[in-house]
Amino acid sequence: MIEVENLRKTFGDTEVLKGISTTFEKGKTNLIIGQSGSGKTVFMKCLLGLLTPTDGTIRYEGKAYSEMAPEVRRDLRQEMGMVFQGSALFDSMTVEGNVMFPLDMFTKKSRAEMQERVDFVLHRVNLVDAHKKYPAEISGGMQKRVAIARAIVMNPKYLFCDEPNSGLDPKTAMLIDNLIQEITEEYNITTVINTHDMNSVMEIGEKIVFLKNGIKEWEGTKKEIFRTDNEAVTNFVYSSELFKKVRQMYLEGKN
């Protein structure tokens, strides 16, 4: 579980996060949604410690990140997996090399054991014939899947995904969403996902935090998001006619 209390982040004069408090639960897919530029990536980077918050506390299992000793942070980092918005694969390494990298770096496993684990996670993300290819030689969707494989190869306790399915076709996008949800349940991971994909919200939104202009405008579950009266949420979520209809039908069905 990750608890966030009054998180603020400013860059120079611009305040991007204006005091956010929420919790991200274990074994659940926690979504952060909001318009482009609303601060989702900045929020996630604060959670990961890639950016230092201007103010506020972030607690991992009750322990404040800012008060941890460097070694403790390092150990915590090794329990985190991150899928970056642009995949961030090491382009000097093959697909296999990318996934093996954390194992090679931080475990004492033998080559054979590492290879076995790599094959397992690559199979898990449905990538079976790209082992020896370089990131530049595979499609964006495949890169995302390699990034997910790399993020889960160490069996992380925390998984962070920054728009894991942006730029993918709806089918692959859903495949990736379901994959993340399955892994989250299977290994009881605290998963945080940034997205502005409404399909994801409806599919895997076990907990949803809606950001607007750097504040938490709303939070709830995918069921609650259908019923909410919060205008900012409904305007954002139901910006398309299709979703408006879906909501209409849902609400009518309920009454």
Partner: protein, 245 residues
Amino acid sequence: MNYLASIGSYAIMIVETFKKPTKWPIMRSLILKEIDELIYGSMGIIIFISFFIGGVVAIQTALNISNPLIPKNLIGFATRQSVILEFAPTFTSIIMAGKVGSYITSSIGTMRVTEQIDALEVMGVNALNYLVFPKIIAMFLYPFVVAIAMYIGILGGWIAGVFGGFSSSADFIEGLQLDFIPFHVVYSFVKSVVFAFIIATIPSFHGFYMKGGALEVGKASTVSFVWTSVVIIVMNYILTQLLLG
């Protein structure tokens, strides 16, 4: 960015580079890769340039001797002095600042803008140690490059002098051996070690701390080349004053 702050963060970067070292088997392969890229990969251009510079120095010296009282062995002497003292260590380093420096800035800068450096940090890797340390170690072989540049430069001078009909081989070789001060070679190697460190670290600094996108990677490479050359030239002056002055 203001200069003092930059110097401060450069110093912090150097300290961080030596902290929390990467596992040796991984580091070893990184170092070998950088030796191949930075040292071996620069040999061709360095040999080419040294050869012709040596030749030009010999011809220029020959053309400026009109007084019959000046001994012919001056051509060899002048070639040796200029190549060993300046052309091999300093001129070569400026070339390296362009070739190796822009490679370092753009490769690290690309990793920064595509968040590969963030990915390393998230995993708990000390990205500075992982990326910069192997380059510093590889560049410790740079004095060998300078030694080769000296040899080839003098060879170029000899060929231009003898085959261009400016000097006899005997005169040239006599000039090479005239008043030889071994400390000049030491001075030259001291300079090349310092320049090697500059060439490895200043471009790394510009790549590692850059902000923006692909366009900025190009700009960072240019800025990094300017600063690397400026620092080399200034250090050249300071070291000359300290060691020979």
